[in-house]
Amino acid sequence: MASDTKSGPALLEVKGLRAGYGETWALHGIDFRVDSGGVTALLGANGAGKTTTLRAISGMVKTDGEISFLGTSLRGMKTEKIAAAGVAHVPDGRGTFMELSVEENMKLGAYTRRGDMSGEFERMFAYFPKLKQRFRQQAGLLSGGEQQMLAIARALLLKPKLLLLDEPSFGLAPLIVREIFDIMREIKDKEGVGILVVEQNASLALDISERAYLLETGRIVMSGASAEIAKDEGLRRSYLGY
């Protein structure tokens, strides 16, 4: 299996990260990195600590260890400052502003940017034509897949350097999941962002990513090139269950 030998400055470099809620830690010191312009996958079962890892990066939980983004530490920064620094986070549950319109949701996505956003909105409609049809509607009325598209559009409107995606396939029909992952591939090619995607659906995540890390109860138990992990039947069977 490939080891962490990739050189050059990482977009995100995490070392000895512990994170948790209240008195307990859910992550027990993990190391990983995300590079610009690629997709890194974080795999694992329910409760492995995937969502906690993303929340730690965004400063939403208590943390210990190193989180370095473009060479500066994110630890101790407020969530809104981390977002403004260029980290977009599509949270679990998608974080839709249900009471607001699709348009207002998109405006909030671009909150940290000034100036006319109509060109940027058009760019999002090119990825997600459905959002254009739904532009004036209340976002709470969108289907789950449409809300996921809106969430990704909101995140991209931040013009991020790092995009964190928490289970983009969650609760969606297989056809919609494929549609969203196809668009993610396009985004990966066009936007030049580094993407860290958390997924329970390992085959999907390995397919779209270059590198993958496998989390088990708060520790990284395996990492390597996604293509190699996907090829290794023994690994797949014992760790990923497909």
């Binding site: 974080g95 502003f97 249900m98 909030l108 789950g144 931040l158």
Partner: protein, 290 residues
């Protein structure tokens, strides 16, 4: 018939004041899910500041705007010092703070300014009734001011970037932070704005009811009834509810229960709404799909 019309117009004038306080209540409710029982007392206290300034010779409109700014600062301080630490506290803790604030503002006002009724000037003059006697000058002026305030607040929330961020912070704080919205600042601004709206309502009602530390007790009840009637989750509904309550109060006071028992109608409205239609007339039950 003229009598009825006069009561309706009078009701619209006082309804505007209830609508303003109802809007302030809804703004705080949206962000905290609690009713700020001290909203009225904060308005009353600000009105005393206005009176002090006016008595010191400051021109009315300068005193007016200075008071609004003072009220906004007080609102921000209350949120920062008292409400922010209680963000994740149980409901009763917040309710306790609201009731505590009510007594603190009430007693402090009584202590500094005494409990005697004081006349408060109207900027619109004492002149005779207008429009065939349906509106007094002050009623007309204060209704105009209230409408301007309500429209500006609506436009602010609807059309400005800051207004959108404040709504977002109230509806979904964690998602707002992830979009880069400084939620703590937005909530404090919301309190400031609500307190400023309350101060304007206080200065508009004081010339009618005279200023004393208990001036807003009744107004708050009518406003609360209006907010519930229109729907405590819906700002526009609360405003409409405030106007309806004002008209019901005046008509009922003149023709049904008499002026002595007017306040009981606010309580009846509250009980009826909570029993029959807890979401209020326009409080839409939010629909969402997952």
């Amino acid at each position: 018939m003229d009598g009825v019309l006069h009561q309706v117009f009078s009701g619209i004038a006082s309804g505007g004041i209830y609508a303003s306080i109802a809007l302030a209540l809804v703004m705080i409710f949206t962000a905290t899910h609690h009713v700020n029982f001290a909203q009225g007392e904060m308005a009353m206290f600000s009105t005393y500041i206005a009176l002090t300034l006016i008595q010191a010779g400051v021109p009315y409109w300068i005193a007016f705007f200075a008071t609004v700014i003072f009220a906004m600062v007080v609102g921000v301080i209350v949120q920062k010092v008292l409400m922010e630490p209680l963000m994740n506290a149980p409901v009763l803790a917040s309710v306790g703070v609201f009731i505590g604030l009510l007594f603190i503002f009430n007693s402090t006002a009584g202590w500094i300014f005494t409990y005697t009724l004081k006349p408060f000037p109207s900027p619109f003059g004492e002149g005779g009734p207008l429009f065939g006697g349906f509106f007094s000058r002050h009623e007309l002026g204060s209704t105009a001011i209230t409408l301007v305030v309500l429209l500006s607040v609506w436009a602010f929330f609807r059309f400005t970037r800051l207004g959108l961020a404040m709504r977002a912070a109230a509806y979904n704080p964690s998602s707002s932070r992830l979009s880069g919205v400084p939620v703590a600042t937005m909530l404090a601004l919301g309190w400031g704005l609500a307190s400023g709206i309350g101060a304007i309502a206080g200065m508009m009602v004081a010339p009618i009811v005279f200023l004393d530390p208990n001036m807003m007790a009744g107004v708050l009840l009518y406003a609360f009834a209006g907010a519930l009637l229109g729907g405590i989750t819906n700002p526009l509904g609360a405003v409409v509810g405030g106007f309806i309550v004002g008209v019901i109060e005046n008509l009922g006071g003149a023709y049904v229960v008499g002026t002595e028992l007017k306040l009981s109608m606010a309580l009846i409205i509250i009980v009826v709404v909570l029993t029959l239609k807890p979401a209020g007339l326009f409080g839409k039950v939010l629909s969402s799909r997952v």
